[in-house]
């Protein structure tokens, strides 16, 4: 069985974000980078499937500068067999359509039985790439999965809907699935697996080899949201803060009445 999992490297969302000089994205310096949270579930599910079926080859794909190889190594340490790095220093300026066109161009003649992606990225959050890749390849896609099982060429899964309701869905492979938070429990790579990952294949392909399609979206401006004001911000020593909070709760709420 041939499996592909697509991941993205994103900044830690607790970072302080500054707009870059061009005004079209955030400044990439001084950020801590990690695997997109949704993709951790995708990698875990792909590794579990590989272990279930025994005979499988699992490729992890990531688009970006050399910096993203660090995150790819984590996926390799989690159990992916090989890495396909699409080298692109300008990936952050590409829209979901262009990114999907690259993945589809890579996957087109490789006959993957199943492709895993996160349901969205934490930074851009468009939630388009997975479905676009499937549509470009002409295969079915199941999105927002919180349960997944595979047997004999059929995927049985549950999509998460609003309010905790789930939809039971199925399709046959080849297919693509997008993974939602809570789908599984992503493993932590062990030290021996981190060592082993260093020896795994990780091949970089220049992005232009994959004939990127021009973006369909233009970014006019990036800015922090306007502060609506109103909220009071308190800082200082915890004991003093606690006294101030109690005072506020007494004055502004009925909680202590």
């Amino acid at each position: 069985m041939k499996l592909l999992v697509c991941i993205k490297q994103v900044p830690d969302m607790e970072s302080k974000f500054k707009v870059n000089a061009a005004g079209n994205w955030y400044e990439e310096t001084d950020l801590a980078w990690r695997m997109n949270e949704y993709d951790e579930y995708a990698v875990e599910q792909a590794v579990q499937l590989k272990q279930q079926v025994g005979e499988a080859d699992l490729t992890v794909l990531c688009i970006g500068s050399d910096r993203v190889k660090e995150t790819m190594k984590k996926a390799l340490a989690m159990g992916c067999d090989r890495g396909a790095h699409i080298a692109d220093d300008a990936s952050h300026l590409k829209d979901p359509y262009t990114i999907a066109s690259l993945i589809a161009a890579y996957a087109k003649d490789k006959d993957f039985d199943l492709i895993f992606t996160g349901m969205q990225s934490q930074d851009r959050g468009s939630g388009q790439v997975g479905v676009l890749v499937a549509e470009m390849l002409g295969i079915p896609s199941l999105t927002t999965l919180v349960e997944f099982s595979y047997a004999d060429g059929t995927i049985n899964a549950k999509r998460e809907l609003e309010g905790g309701i789930k939809a039971k869905v199925s399709c046959t492979t080849p297919a693509l699935v997008t993974c939602q938070l809570g789908l599984n429990t992503p493993r932590y790579p062990t030290l021996p697996n981190i060592m082993k990952a260093k020896k795994k294949e990780l091949i970089s392909t220049p992005v232009d080899d994959l004939n990127p399609q021009p973006s369909l979206l233009e970014v006019l401006q990036v800015a922090p949201p306007e502060k609506k004001g109103g909220g009071l911000i308190l800082e200082g020593d915890p004991a003093d803060l606690a006294d101030q909070l109690i005072q506020i709760l007494k004055e502004k709420t009925t909680a202590l009445a």
């Binding site: 998460e160 809907l161 970014v219």
Partner: protein
């Protein structure tokens, strides 16, 4: 400008997001038509053309066929924008339509600013103003961003449409949310734990604060996904919607899906180490502090009152 609004229908009901679509088109000053895979017995309040397909024939969830149907309506109506809710239905369907039209898709619009659409990035810490370079675009709207002041009224002019019922995905019905556990919607005071608690042992301090305030404790999704708290404790779009008199968010960043479940709380106190955390946008008070220090002291002082 003309928009085609794709309304959402689930389990025999039209979802409230349809009125947000109508309001969005009104805010754009655009004409509109609507398409719905639903039923003639439950029509949306809408003054305009409604292309209606029978959900009992093609299925409430059948993306390739819904796509086909919508493409046929687009052919007839020639809209320059197709609008869907940014929901499990909308974000699944929108890219399928966008690719078929080779149209730009703008996901999760929160605002129209100077005629351009604004979308959030980085857990709402940034906003992007974006523009489609294609003649037709597909847009999804963040839930709650375009809620109208008053529900729309009117009766649509129904035009029945059909499409083949096959498709590449089988839909075998819904599974209801698990019941049991606590009913947070009835609580007057809720103290919620987020990922910022760091480890499961720290949930106890959140519970203790909740007890000191004579309230219940709740949780954000990562805390539930990690099985540190029961699913019935989860607040947010995929958990419970709560409206307590006091909501204390401890170590919760304030992602839109969490806010959707608690923003109607009367008073919100947030405790967070990150002064820029988006929870600050809706909190009445943001105490910038390590919850591991502040929560126990606050609890102790409350207990001593």
């Amino acid at each position: 400008m003309k928009t085609l609004l794709v309304a959402e229908y689930r389990d025999g009901k039209i979802l409230a997001s349809s009125s947000e679509l109508i309001n969005f088109a009104a805010q754009l000053g655009a004409e509109s038509a609507m398409v719905l895979v639903g039923s003639e017995t439950t029509l949306p309040h809408y003054q305009g053309k409604l292309y209606l397909a029978d959900s009992t024939k093609i299925g409430e969830f059948n993306p390739s066929q819904h796509k086909q149907l919508i493409l046929e309506v687009i052919e007839k109506e020639q809209p320059s924008m197709v609008v869907l809710p940014h929901s499990s239905y909308g974000w699944d369907l929108a890219p399928r339509i966008a690719l078929a039209l080779k149209a730009a898709q703008i996901s999760e619009v929160v605002e129209i600013k100077d005629g351009h659409l604004v979308v959030p990035s980085c857990n709402a810490k940034l906003r992007r103003r974006v523009k489609a370079t294609t003649n037709i675009s597909v847009v999804t709207l963040q839930g709650g961003a375009f809620t109208p002041a008053e529900d729309p009224d009117g009766t649509p002019e129904v035009i029945k449409v059909e499409v083949a019922a096959d498709g590449d995905i089988q839909f075998a019905g819904y599974e209801e949310a698990e019941t049991g556990g606590v009913d947070l919607s009835k609580a007057d005071i809720i103290v919620s734990a987020g990922r910022g608690i760091g480890k499961p042992e720290n949930l106890a301090m959140i519970e203790n604060l909740a007890k000191a305030l004579k309230g219940e404790y709740g949780a954000s999704r990562p805390v539930v996904d990690a099985e540190w708290a029961d699913p019935s404790r989860q607040v947010g779009t995929t958990g419970q919607t709560v409206t307590p008199k006091l909501y204390v968010a401890c170590g919760i960043s304030g992602a839109i899906q969490h806010l959707a479940g608690m923003k109607k709380s009367e008073f919100v106190l947030a405790i967070n180490t990150d002064k820029d955390a988006p929870i600050g946008e809706i909190a009445d008070v943001l105490a910038v502090a390590d919850l591991k220090q502040l929560v126990p002291i606050l609890t102790e002082k409350l207990n001593a009152l």
